[in-house]
């Protein structure tokens, strides 16, 4: 008995699922979205865990959201407002500090304080990275061709790609090759000498990976994060007014306006497959909905191994998805504060509180944090990327009070002996103890603390292994290999069943790119 019939059903109301739904609805399809939780957004949510204090529970900054999505879905009209993050402040153990400003010249001035050579190199580095980001950008917006196929369409895809790279010229091509294959530490060593600068820059290359800055493969993620652009201004990081949940809400609002239905607290049990075709979904409460198109915004493990039965899939693909690497490496701590952290290296309240605060004093520091995780422990002195949302958007906390969002790495999902309440608190303590070394007043200012381990992220958000990118961003899991060779074009072996989550190209971050490309594939190439 069917509870409803639609043109398309989207499983998962994360930002990618919502983007796919919005585009499909905009093209005139009757669309319904089923979200397991009571709130939309998946890992891009804002929740009032502690009364009066709004936490950007998981994802906390916006930089990679594709500008064409903002434009095409008219997200500003639906409430999206991105507030700039002006700086990244790195406190140092010797009571010095380093600040990188959104303003290039201001950063240059600050760098002169540390190294004149680095200040000079920063210009050329910025120029090159900008050029490379421009060179890579079109690739993020294309459906990857299939390397196993000899079809004219796929061969043309590779030819076009080849032409694109050849058009870059020697210097950029070689620089891109280096970025794709080097460690962020080695890459940055070629440019700079200030340890804190290199470590802080490299940190963006390790976010969400299970690698240290000296591991090859991390330089690429450096570029991934450089690609952030807001209204065309590359490299600018931002905070969505109302928290990251507001991004999801604005997309949902656009989808609704185009006629999409969105149901929360409606967990999907499985995709119904008949004769090799997806014909709808069955909810956990037993209701069945029919549609010729079913789109999964979940990660590849859930999309292929949980929502559908293995017998519908070729064994090669099952094997590929089983070995798809999706180890979580990070945790999150959210705090309600009675006062702002006061940093000994730069006392008082200042503009630094409106930017990011990065605990990444040196490569050695980051590597030691990684070493502990390699052997199954969480970092006792972790890398942290913090922001204080209430300093950017006062509505996030009651007057005079603050919220602080702390991204923490490394916290391995395969912790020796597994995570439990005691270890969660020990992990939270390690985070606070480390921050207290730089801002001694912090422990006394905490009104409430939320600690999320990779297991909590998996349990709450449904991210397998707590991996925030739906799968590690390693070279062998990118582009036409994401999530598996032959199935990187958003389709699946089950006709009518599509993938739209971050586990597909281009992967990771609140980009919406996967959802948009999936919709494009479903609609036959046109949005």
């Amino acid at each position: 008995m069917s509870a409803g019939r639609y043109d398309a059903i989207v499983v998962g109301g994360g930002h990618n699922g919502l983007v796919a739904a919005a585009y499909l609805a905009r093209a005139g399809k009757r669309v319904i979205v089923f979200e397991r939780r009571h709130v939309l957004g998946g890992a891009a949510v804002t929740e009032e865990i502690h009364p009066g204090f709004k936490y950007t529970v998981c994802s906390y900054v916006v930089s990679l959201l594709r500008p064409e999505i903002i434009r095409e879905l008219e997200l500003p009209r639906h409430g999206l407002e991105i507030l700039p993050l002006e700086s990244t402040f790195t406190p140092l153990p010797d009571d010095d500090y380093l600040v990188r400003w959104a303003d290039h010249d201001q950063t240059r001035r600050e760098l002169y304080r540390h190294s004149a050579r680095d200040a000079e190199a920063y210009d050329e580095f910025g120029r090159l990275m900008y050029q490379l980001a421009v060179a890579v950008k079109p690739i993020l917006a294309m459906i990857p061709p299939d390397p196993t196929s000899m079809s004219p369409k796929d061969l043309m895809g590779f030819l076009r790609l080849g032409k694109h790279f050849r058009g870059l010229g020697h210097e950029q091509f070689h620089a891109l090759h280096k970025l794709m294959t080097m460690s962020s530490a080695d890459y940055l060593d070629e440019w700079f000498e200030t340890e804190s600068l290199k470590a802080t820059m490299s940190a963006s290359g390790i976010i969400g990976t299970f690698l240290g800055p000296r591991s090859p493969g991390t330089a690429y993620v450096l570029l991934h994060h450089y690609m952030g652009e807001i209204d065309g201004a590359m490299r600018a990081w931002g905070f969505a007014k109302g928290g990251t949940g507001a991004v999801s809400e604005s997309i949902a609002s656009a989808a609704r306006e185009h006629g999409a239905e969105i149901r929360t607290e409606a967990p999907v049990a499985q995709v119904v497959v008949k004769g090799g075709r997806a014909i709808g979904v069955a909810l956990e409460n037993g209701d069945e909905y029919e549609a010729p198109v079913v789109v999964s915004g979940l990660d590849p493990k859930l999309t292929f191994l949980k929502l559908v039965e293995e017998r519908h899939l070729p064994s090669d693909l099952v094997r590929d998805i089983r070995r798809f690497r999706i180890r979580g490496s990070s945790g999150k701590v959210n705090l309600s504060l009675s006062e702002l952290p006061d940093f000994t290296s730069l006392p008082g309240v200042g503009p630094l509180h409106q930017g990011a605060i990065s605990v990444s004093p040196s490569f050695d520091y980051l590597e030691r944090a990684y070493d502990e995780a390699k052997y199954g422990d969480f970092s006792s002195r972790p890398y942290m990327d913090c922001i204080i949302p209430s300093m950017i958007d006062p509505d996030m906390a009651p007057p005079g009070k603050h919220v602080m969002s702390i991204f923490v790495q490394y916290a391995p999902s395969d912790l020796e002996g597994g995570w439990d309440d005691r270890k969660r608190e020990a992990f939270g303590d390690a985070v606070i103890d480390t921050l207290a070394e730089y801002a001694p007043n912090l422990p006394g200012a905490i009104l409430h603390r939320q600690v999320l381990t990779p297991w909590d992220i998996e349990r709450t958000m449904g991210l397998t292994g707590g991996n925030i990118f739906h799968g590690e961003l390693s070279l062998q899991q990118l582009f036409c290999m994401r999530p598996a060779a032959g199935w990187a074009d958003f389709t699946t072996p089950i006709r009518g069943y599509f993938q739209a989550g971050s586990g597909t190209h281009p992967g990771g971050g609140v980009t919406g790119a996967s959802g948009r490309l999936a919709a494009m594939k479903i609609l036959g190439g046109r949005l």
Binding site: T181, R214, Q476, M481
Partner: protein
């Protein structure tokens, strides 16, 4: 001023000699200048202990190209000794592991550790052999210029693509997929046995400043399997009488083909006139002219050590400066009064004939690497012992044995202290002590020993920072990126100067391929 040559080859290492032989065969007047008193460079055999013939640098030559042997008529001039088993891995507890040349026998051996691993072994061996076969084609090709439009480049890229497709759809994707991976990721997919994972991982990081969890380490593992007989994992092939016999055979062949090979001739600098390399000046001040110069020394030694920096474009100089070397291996040679007796497999036997690899788990190897990140020597190092005297009695006096050990990780740049006599002694003691944990009689057998730290490898063999490959074998320093982007086709950034050593594609190991490829390009360039 003396006689004029078509080509002067700087460095009589195996690659320099291969280049010289090909050029002489191609009709050129060739002069090889070797600074040491023996030819071979790091592939030399020396009597460092009385009555012993010791391969002081390289001792395994699995990848020496058969094509070169046949092109240069070297067959029968040296004898290869492939070990079977190629690798034995002792452990402190539980059964050890032996990798045999026969994969079926190896699989049975692995079964004592894990049934699943034994079942997976044949498919793993096939994958390694397919991937290595593909790499072999790439080895012999001059790296294509991706951004260029030369027909030759397009053809060479296309034929490599075709070679890859011949593996079949599934295996093609698989080979491409594993190339950038870390050994840890690969082994997680295949095996569960600690000692098997450790032993394979140890081979993937040899000479590399990375642990098996570092991306790109699968590549180096495959590199070591190019040219190996199908089915053999971790091949161990020696030369009877020492690896120096190979170098001597090459030098002899050069002379027969009309080339002149001089030892004890240290090149001080390359003479550049009107932007072109025109000759060399020796340490004794004499100058020798030639139409072109080929250097088999590593790229930094060649371009910074032998050239006036004023001749290099600053942008090019920066690329050369950025070549990563970071040697992490030390070599320790022991003269022994008898054979080591391993606790996990007592007595003598074939298990001592190949490489004896101490790296009992992947985590052990990774932990050994951790130290070097902070500029320290591994407290529990990875070791690879070779006892050539067991299969080749000529290399040690009657009743005595020779054990050569590759030790990893020892950083070239120590953060605390320097590579002085005390540090060298501590390193030798550490190696002896570590082996003794597995073979309790080892320390009591030592008659003499020689420790070569990364700093010693640099001063003795001219290997910059002690890197045995003339530059790290990482994905960003391979193919068209080796030795530096824009100069990957054996032409140095100075007209008339060529690079023919391991710093050029396809890189390190006693393969002869960089030397052969360089000669081909030089003969074509005329």
């Amino acid at each position: 001023m003396s006689a004029h040559f078509d080509t002067i080859v700087i460095g009589g290492g195996h690659n320099g000699l291969v280049t010289a032989a090909y050029l002489a065969k191609g009709g050129q007047r060739v002069l090889v200048l070797e600074g040491r008193d023996v030819v071979g460079g790091a592939a030399a055999t020396e009597e460092i202990f009385p009555g012993y013939r010791v391969d002081t640098g390289a001792h395994r030559i699995g990848g020496f190209s058969k094509r070169i042997v046949s092109d240069l008529g070297l067959a029968g001039r040296f004898e290869l000794l492939p070990a079977d088993p190629p690798t034995f891995a002792p452990v402190e507890e539980g059964p050890p592991l032996t990798l045999w040349a026969d994969p079926v026998r190896t699989a049975e051996e692995i079964r004592t550790h894990s049934t699943a691993d034994a079942d997976a072994w044949p498919a793993f061996v096939k994958l390694v052999s397919d991937a290595a076969g593909f790499l072999e084609s790439a080895w012999h090709a001059t790296p294509p210029d991706i951004t260029g439009t030369d027909v030759r480049d397009l053809w060479s890229s296309a034929s490599l693509g075709h070679r890859l497709r011949r593996l079949g759809k599934r295996q093609m994707v698989e080979v491409m997929r594993i190339l950038p991976m870390s050994m840890y990721e690969l082994l997680e997919e295949w095996f569960e046995s600690d000692v098997l994972r450790g032993t394979l991982a140890a081979s993937a990081v040899q000479g590399l400043c990375q642990g098996p969890m570092g991306g790109g380490t699968v590549y180096l593992f495959l590199h070591h399997h190019v040219g190996a007989p199908s089915g053999v994992i971790r091949p161990t092939v020696r030369v009877r009488g020492g690896v120096g016999r190979l170098s001597e055979a090459l030098a002899t062949r050069c002379r027969e083909l009309g080339a002149e090979v001089r030892t004890g001739a240290v090149v001080d600098r390359v003479v550049v006139e009107d932007g072109s390399a025109r000759g060399v000046v020796l340490a004794d001040g004499s100058e020798i002219r030639a139409t072109r110069i080929a250097s088999s020394l590593d790229p930094q030694t060649t371009l910074f050590g032998l050239l006036d920096p004023a001749y290099l474009d600053p942008a090019v100089a920066r690329k050369v400066e950025n070549i990563r070397y970071r040697g992490v291996t030390a070599k320790v040679h022991f003269a022994l009064s008898g054979l080591p007796d391993f606790a996990c497999r007592t007595g003598s036997g074939p298990h001592l004939e190949g490489a004896i690899s101490i790296g009992p788990s992947l985590e052990y190897v990774e932990r050994a690497y951790d130290a070097v990140k902070y500029g320290a020597v591994s407290a529990e190092p990875c070791l690879e012992l070779s006892i050539p005297s067991l299969v080749d009695p000529d290399v040690a006096p009657e009743g005595r044995h020779l054990a050569s050990v590759v030790m990893q990780y020892a950083p070239y740049a120590l953060r605390e202290g320097a590579w002085d006599e005390a540090a060298r002694k501590a390193l030798g003691d550490l190696v002896a002590r570590t082996i003794t944990r597995y073979a309790p009689n080892f320390e009591s057998l030592i008659v003499d020993r020689m420790v070569l730290t990364p700093a010693d490898l640099e001063s003795r063999f001219g290997l910059t920072e002690g890197n045995v490959y003339h530059g790290e074998m990482t994905l960003d320093q391979l193919l068209f990126m080796r030795p530096i982007p824009g100069a990957s086709r054996y032409r140095a950034p100075i007209e008339g100067l060529w690079l023919c050593g391991s710093g050029a594609h396809p890189g390190g190991g006693v393969t002869g391929v960089p030397g052969a490829n360089a000669a081909r390009e030089m003969l074509r360039g005329r």
